[in-house]
């Protein structure tokens, strides 16, 4: 913490900010301030208004009420460009990169260094980019196309963008959603460096461990209002969670299921090969079991799931589902065999944004409502209404659209879809990403109920507390291979991280035991 922290003035102060959207009051007279040289956490459930607040600070939204005071002066941003010029930089969760342009061009987007006669000086751009990347201690070819980089590298490019200008306020929106482990550590180092140099950093995350690790103060938002701002040192996890949601941590996870006695596995994967991402994976999944598949982003976990479901081709390996060969599946065949898959990207790959909830829920099982090719719409709607009630989805009705739902409710719609579609095995990829704590709790208990009913559930997740809290057995992947299996009491976060980052080449001296 920088020495002058206590006296440093507020870099940004929001007073009485309100923002309305049709039908929803996203921000309700919020007061918020952050100081220079601090890392200030912004915490809240999804739908609490964090994203709206950030976009208002960044000039992407204009507040309907209230004032923004930046560096002592009242400001009104007419565009994000203006806010940028003033020294505010936001790194959004959806990385705003241009995959066809180079690293250097992305870093200097809209702001390219000019040479003679005002024309873009490519040489200066490349060397400028190199300088910034060196400052960050991250090696990247400034000429490489951003589309070819790993997600972690892409995030570094985003951070580099922030350093091209005299950034006074840096906002990071859930940066560790897509990176973990060592890369996250690097990120936190950068944040500390920036803090030391007087930059104000606003950090948004769902992960309480990180907030306690890196931040100085925390502000909690709930339902568009500010619940309060506290010093990190004077607060504990449970209090924070209670501020956010009115529930304590201990109530989040249902009592873990006892380990399953050995029985014939529901799903058997042997030597799955999908080079270069998956290089020989084998495991079993039993009825009534919640199996966790942990690992860093890019370890190849989602690919395994896609191969089992049939939405990605595998090169070789055998898959057995309920004793029958399931080797060259199509999604249709998988669904018919009782296998379901809730993918990672719910907005891009899961939800049918243009259709209503009933259509979304019935999508894989349309056949159940079809006779002689004709659809029984009333039955479909009634069935959807039942699911909505069962999963407590906050939606006006089964014929309402899904686009405007919160992340948690959208995820519940997908849950409803897959719980009715599959009766054997359900694969969940990041089931609570972008989901508020309240909905998380409900989803965890749904998963629990599914296993209790005899399904085999495979949970792919990068959130350690989730894996540890839910799963009775955990397998860990690293760079395409399984590095280990943990069960019962051995399931803890240090062990999982050790396996997730375990070096695979004996000669590499970086690995610490």
């Amino acid at each position: 913490m920088s020495a002058s922290f206590a006296e440093s003035r507020a870099v940004i102060a929001l007073q009485g900010i309100s923002k309305y959207f049709p039908g929803v009051k996203s921000l309700d007279r919020v007061n918020f301030e952050a100081k220079a040289g601090e890392v200030h956490a912004l915490l809240g459930e999804n739908g609490a208004g964090k994203s709206t607040l950030i976009k208002t600070i960044a000039g992407a939204y204009t507040p309907d009420e209230g004032t923004i005071v930046f560096n002592g002066k009242e400001r009104v941003w007419s565009s994000p460009g203006e806010a940028k010029k003033a020294g505010i930089h936001v790194i959004y969760q959806e990385l705003l990169l241009f995959s066809e342009l180079s690293v250097a061009e992305n870093i200097f987007v809209g702001d390219a260094p000019r040479g003679r006669f005002g024309f873009v000086d490519h040489g200066a751009m490349v060397s400028g980019a190199k300088a910034i990347l060196d400052r960050l201690g991250h090696r990247l070819d400034p000429r490489a196309k951003v589309g070819s980089l790993s997600v972690a590298d892409q995030q570094m490019v985003e951070i580099a963008k922030a350093l091209t200008r005299d950034t006074k306020l840096l906002v990071l929106d859930e940066p560790t959603a897509v990176i973990s482990g060592r890369e996250a550590d690097l990120l936190f180092e950068r944040m500390k460096t920036l803090r030391e140099s007087g930059v104000c950093v606003i950090y948004i995350s769902h992960r309480l461990e990180e907030i306690f690790r890196v931040c100085d103060r925390v502000t909690v938002l709930k339902d568009g209002r500010s619940v309060g701002t506290r010093d990190i040192k004077s607060i504990d996890r449970d209090t924070l969670v209670t501020m956010m949601v009115g529930r304590s941590l201990a109530d989040i996870f249902p009592k873990k299921r006892a380990q399953v006695a050995d029985s014939t596995p529901l799903l058997s994967v042997r030597d799955l090969q999908m080079p270069p991402r998956v290089r020989g994976v084998s495991f079993d999944l039993h009825a009534g079991e919640i199996l966790g598949l942990a690992g860093l982003v890019g370890a190849g976990r989602s690919e395994v799931a896609h191969a089992i479901f049939g939405s990605m081709a595998k090169q070789s390996g055998t898959i057995t589902l309920c004793g029958a060969a399931h080797n060259a599946p199509t999604p249709r065949a998988s669904i018919d065999a009782g296998l379901g898959f809730l993918t990672e990207d719910r907005k891009g790959e899961g939800l049918l944004m243009l259709l209503d909830a009933a259509a979304n829920i019935s999508a894989p099982t349309l056949r159940e409502f079809t006779r002689f090719g004709l659809l029984n719409r009333p039955a479909e709607v009634t069935s959807a209404a039942d699911e909505i009630a069962r999963f407590r989805i906050a939606i006006p009705g089964p014929t309402a659209g899904v686009r405007a739902l919160s992340g948690g409710n959208q995820q519940k719609v997908l849950f409803a879809r897959w719980t009715r579609a599959c009766h054997r095995v359900l694969i969940l990829d990041e089931p609570t990403r972008g989901v508020d704590v309240g909905a998380k709790v409900e989803i965890y208990s749904m998963i629990h109920d599914l296993a209790a009913a005899g399904l085999g559930v495979l949970v792919i997740s990068s959130e350690l507390p989730e894996i540890i809290g839910l799963c009775s057995r955990v397998i860990v992947m690293r760079e395409g291979v399984l590095t280990g299996e943990l069960s019962g009491d051995a399931v803890d976060d240090r062990e999982i991280m050790r396996l997730a980052t375990k070096n695979l080449a004996a000669a590499d001296a970086r690995d610490a035991a």
Partner: protein, 322 residues
């Protein structure tokens, strides 16, 4: 309480607003036309207009389906003309040949549609380019065959199909109504129709719920081409002559009609009835131009203004190029 309203798939509010606006506009148009020409509001005039519109409306049905599936078909006009030429190639004069000719046209159109669909799904060519290329190819084939001047003959029965009446209703209009009913049923009440909307809205998500996106898309292109082929036959029946340019301009007109009717170019949203209403609006506008005594080129101007205004009114979804 669950309110099971009409079987619409799009989020409630925008769907009914669009419908309301369309019908309102249609009524306003008819009122204007009647004001300009009192004889407009007569049964015979309506019959004339609808007979004239029927071939376009048939083509519009097909185009709307393809657009719903996130595609586009620029080859429809060229296909219409090519099928007209195919029909005359039979050199038939007996009405008993008509079913055979129609069957041949349907079959060939289906093949063209299949080719379009294959290009778009398996070779991942953009629909704009694929169907544009197909349009050119069909044009070449047709001109090469006719050597610039179509010959051959058509059974007189086609004139009846194009201009005749059955129980007081124009035959081609009946045909349109029949096709509309069939396709509407398929689109709105069948699982296949639901798949079209799902694929059009998000092809990847469709795959992940077990729908064969490729198959559905190809079927849509086939349907569109068949409609174009049939439309070509009816148009020839209406006009009475066959040349190399039958249906010229119908490809853009059918897209315009669909857009006016609320079918989103981004795919997955819109209805056949909307598209048909759009087609009707277009034809009515053309008619008003004629009633007003304006030169026929004025239709182009009006068409342009209408399509932009209609689209602005409905504010189509995403803004991505074709």
């Amino acid at each position: 309480m669950i309110g099971i309203r009409r079987h619409s798939l799009a989020p409630m509010r925008s769907g009914s607003l669009k419908r309301f606006a369309l019908s309102g506009f249609l009524i306003a148009l008819m009122a204007t036309a009647t004001a300009l020409q009192p004889s407009f509001l007569s049964v015979s005039n309506f019959q004339n207009i609808l007979t004239q519109a029927a071939p376009l409306l048939i083509v519009v049905l097909g185009q709307a389906i393809v657009i719903l599936a996130r595609g586009l078909d620029l080859s429809v006009a060229s296909l219409m003309a090519t099928m007209a030429v195919v029909a005359t190639a039979f050199n038939a004069t007996e009405d008993s040949m008509i079913p055979i000719i129609v069957a041949a046209v349907v079959a060939l159109s289906a093949i063209v549609g299949f080719a379009n669909g294959l290009l778009v799904t398996k070779r991942k060519v953009s629909p704009f380019i694929a169907t544009l290329a197909m349009m050119i190819v069909l044009q070449g084939v047709r001109f090469a065959y006719t050597k610039g001047a179509p010959a051959g003959s058509l059974p007189a029965g086609f004139r009846y199909l194009g201009t005749g009446k059955f129980a007081g209703v124009p035959v081609n209009l009946l045909a349109f109504i029949l096709l509309f009913a069939l396709l509407s049923l398929a689109l709105n009440k069948s699982a296949l129709g639901r798949s079209v909307y799902i694929v059009g809205g998000n092809p990847r998500a469709a795959e992940l719920v077990g729908i064969r996106s490729d198959r559905v898309t190809i079927l849509c292109y086939i349907a569109c081409s068949i409609m174009a082929g049939l439309g070509g036959l009816f148009l020839v029946g209406y006009v009475g002559t066959v040349d190399n340019w039958v249906g010229r301009g119908y490809e853009l007109d059918s897209i315009v009609a669909a857009v006016i009717g609320g079918v989103s170019l981004a795919g997955g949203a819109g209805t056949l009835s909307g598209a048909a209403a759009g087609g009707l609006i277009l034809v009515l506008l053309f008619n008003i131009v004629v009633i007003l005594g304006l030169p026929v080129q004025a239709q182009l101007v009006i068409k342009g203004v209408i399509i932009v205004s209609a689209a602005a009114l409905f504010v189509q979804g995403q803004r991505r190029a074709t």
